[in-house]
Assembly symmetry: C2
Homo-oligomer: 362 residues x 2
């Protein structure tokens, strides 16, 4: 048996143990072929079957309508920051950006290299701890799209309600909360997500796009690897895809179905975050700065009463096999990333440790 | 023990068995940490160490001069087709392209979306079976760079001599023959290669670039993920890299060093191709159409005397555990891809089968 530690890294992040065990068992002998899945051609019928199954499982889990394409790309959310602006804007058209933290700021910055992008909400006035009232966003009805990030991994701030932006396509960076709960895909024009939080290893990115939006970049001179039509027209196999990452993504989706799908995983995620925030709020040693309504269910930043104890907290956690708890350098403190694959047991171990550390140092 | 078959796929391709065995043994417990290498943050000191070691091993193996940067990117050679033109050309500058097959044609097509690209050699007049005399290339001294593909995977044509292009930077798509033999890096301005032939799994791309060329795109509006400076300035960790693919690449490099480095692997590759071409040339059943001087040491396309037997040949090969021998749909016939990880034993098994098949069907 493998001794597994508790891994709260923000991404690449922990994967379900049984996914890794299956990958391990067949790593040199996939489907009894005497080769690894990473050694087979992406053009082989066996691999194509694997890829199509992963897409179907994603469609089943998210209930993706038939007028949406699912694309498998590389380059992470960062490449999507450029792809969205390149693919979705007509000439001289601008876009609307909701800035709720570091990731949406980065998305805005990349989009501004390509076309005019309006900031319709700037959360920096709240130091990215609040979003305020979504109905106050100053939407431009002629914008090519409205972009937001549903979960800010660094700040630990999540917008769970789906914003109503009228007829303008809603574009969402869902990298760190996709598949954590059921959502209504039909409310979106496009969703993108790097896999390395809730879906698999790093190196593969999922894009879900409403078909009619693909016409906007159909006959453009965008580099092929950045044009959504390249992927939509080739089942994402125009060039060699990241085959092993796609395979692991497929295993994670299979695991998710086995857990009962997104409604079940949402219940688990609700319980997990409640355990941790409740403990933090009731302690006089730890604190979280985010407005309650917008607290992230995926990434929980917290601060020790005495910041001088940070390193001691981390060292003690590592000794107990609680990894990845150091906060992002831009915000400091601690952060527990509690994606789908984090178990209740892991939450209990974390909270136990936090209790003991507080007791010893309060 | 795992029973391994012989895998002649063109890419993703066979990997050294001992690389896969190491990956398997530590898949759930890397460095005794109780987590997988694909679950650890790319910002952790352990992962950064792994990444730096891979770069150093690549530098050692290829003897990369200190004035060259090594970048680890995503998107395969296809994304590099765009990156080269975006990063290496001054405004209104054109580039020179040598077209020796399908891959250099694709590179040209992408470059032409961005700027003027001159075709200085067009091998389609030889049906891509010959390159003729390299000294006849019509070089433009004011070109931003000269681009060629050192090994055309589909056609099975390789340019082993390093072309002399004067002071214009030489750019090479080395995806399918990098690390197959020693080369003089100092003759190049930039080399790029997808990993999935000789270096690792798909999903990671290596770029080796002479530092002075980076100034050309230093202050441009190129999307960050396509700008070489983004990677050069962040040890290729501006965003989350494909961490597991990078890890496997590192294991392959370690394996290569253990084999004795590139001079030893070059001897092995020389022997392997010689065995196969000798057999083909001496048979009256198989043929290869490429001018001898330019025959690829990595990908050996061959045709049966009777093309109606193609499917029978493939079926028989699969039954014996000889996989991936079907030729590319654009050129038909058969193809044996015999990258570094293909053993002499695999070559013997292939040739034995070819002999028997010829005997039975001649």
């Amino acid at each position: 048996m493998n001794k597994r530690t508790y891994n709260f890294y923000p991404g690449p992040a922990t994967l379900p143990t049984e996914v890794l065990e299956q990958a391990q068992s067949e790593l040199l002998n996939w489907q009894n072929k005497g080769i690894s899945v990473m050694e087979i051609s992406h053009r082989s019928k066996e691999y194509i079957e694997l890829a199509m199954k992963a897409e179907q499982d994603l469609r089943d889990l998210l209930n993706i309508p038939t007028n949406y394409k699912v694309l498998f790309m590389q380059g992470g959310a960062h490449l999507q920051f450029s792809c969205t602006a390149l693919n979705l804007l007509d000439k001289n058209q601008s876009s609307d950006y909701v800035v709720t933290g570091i990731w949406s700021q980065k998305a805005l910055k990349e989009a501004q290299k390509i076309a005019k992008a309006n900031v319709i909400f700037d959360g920096s006035k709240y130091n990215f701890t609040d979003i305020g009232d979504v109905s106050n966003w100053q939407l431009n009805s002629d914008a090519g799209y409205v972009h937001y990030c549903s979960n800010e991994t660094v700040g630990g701030l999540q917008l769970r309600e789906l914003p109503n932006v009228g007829d303008v396509p809603l574009v969402c960076d869902m990298s760190s909360d996709i598949l954590s709960r059921p959502i209504d895909i039909s409310k979106f024009g496009l969703i993108y997500a790097g896999a390395q939080k809730n879906m698999g290893p790093s190196g593969i990115t999922v894009v879900i796009v409403r078909e009619d939006l693909l016409t906007r970049s159909a006959n453009t001179n965008i580099p092929s690897m950045l044009n959504y039509n390249t992927y939509a027209g080739s089942d994402s196999m125009y060039n060699t895809p990241p085959t092993f990452a796609w395979y692991l993504l497929g295993l994670v989706l299979k695991w998710l179905k086995k857990q009962g799908g997104l409604s079940e995983i949402a219940k688990l995620n609700y319980s997990k975050q409640q355990m941790l925030y409740d403990y933090i709020d009731n302690s006089n040693f730890y604190s979280n700065k985010i407005t309650h309504k917008y607290r992230s269910y995926m990434n929980v930043p917290f601060y020790l009463k005495d910041e001088n104890l940070n390193q001691q907290f981390i060292d003690g956690a590592n000794k107990r096999g609680l990894l990845g708890l150091k906060g992002h350098r831009l915000v400091g403190g601690m952060r527990a990333s509690i994606y789908n694959a984090i178990t209740i047991e892991a939450m209990q171990k974390l909270i136990e440790y936090m209790q003991e550390f507080a007791k010893e140092n309060n």
